[in-house]
Amino acid sequence: MEKAEKPHVLGYGQLALVLGLLLILTGLTVAVSYVHLGFWNVPVALSIASLKASLVLLFFMHLKYEGRVIRYSFISTVLFLAVMIGFTFWDVAFR
């Protein structure tokens, strides 16, 4: 949270580029939802959402430029979430 060193400054252009990508991906996820893919609908929607989330995290939230502590603790949070979801499904799917 506290950073003594000089923080990384992202230019408006870079941020606008990220925003453009996010808007394109939003359009894509809406477009894909009209295509009937059966089982693959949800995984595709979630993959696009994860991609968007990564963009927000890396650039808007400066995660790309944070130190090791924040980077690894964030990854462990995501892993914990994955374990939670994974084990729940393990239970539900094979009950």
Binding site: M1, L15, T26, S73, F74, L81, M84, I85
Partner: protein, 185 residues
């Protein structure tokens, strides 16, 4: 701040697990419920939140470059986006309630249990998310006031940065809420 964000991720993660399990059990009704939701408003709100996230990130850049006026303008615009989001949400919920779709309504109680669960989750998750939007707007307003009083400067902008992080988290959650509720099948 990041630690708090982790706890928020797990909080919403838990709700998404709940969603996933019920989706597994009642996929057909979830698809039916999803069609009831207005995806135009949903998409509009997604764009509004993404743009506001961009302006918050840009306002941090502006502060780092000591452009106070730009930072204030960008933050005001972000707050405006937050208001638009909430107004859209108000109309959306209003339309649902008008169609007799709300927790404990006769339509849902007598209808299929899958639909009841879908709209229950819809109200809980979007409601909790809306609450986060309001909290995020309060934090951004405090940051705005601190910039006006020169309490946030290029040398110390932790408050703005952390409010921004919170605002991005709100955006992040919506990125997952939108496809799950509005676009299922």
């Amino acid at each position: 701040m990041w630690l708090f964000l982790y706890s928020e991720i797990i909080l919403f993660g838990g709700l998404f697990v709940l969603y996933a399990v019920y989706f597994h059990n009642h996929a057909q009704y979830f698809a039916e419920g999803g069609k009831e939701l207005n995806r135009v408003i949903g998409a509009l709100n997604t764009i509004v939140l993404l743009v506001s996230s961009f302006t918050v990130a840009a306002s941090i850049t502006a502060i780092q470059r000591e452009k106070k006026g730009q930072a204030i303008g960008l933050l005001l615009f972000s707050l405006f986006c937050g208001v638009i989001f909430l107004v859209n949400k108000y109309f959306e919920w209003g339309a649902k309630i008008h169609h007799d779709i709300y927790p404990n309504s006769a339509t849902l109680q007598d209808g299929a249990p899958g639909l009841n669960i879908f709209f229950g989750l819809y109200y809980v998750i979007t409601g909790l998310h809306g609450l986060h939007v309001i909290i995020g707007m309060v934090l951004l307003s405090i940051s705005l006031a601190m910039i006006l009083r020169n309490r946030i400067t290029a040398a110390r902008f932790s408050m703005l940065e952390n409010s921004g992080l919170y605002w991005h988290l709100v955006d992040l959650i919506w990125i997952f809420v939108f496809p799950l509720f509005y676009l299922v099948l």
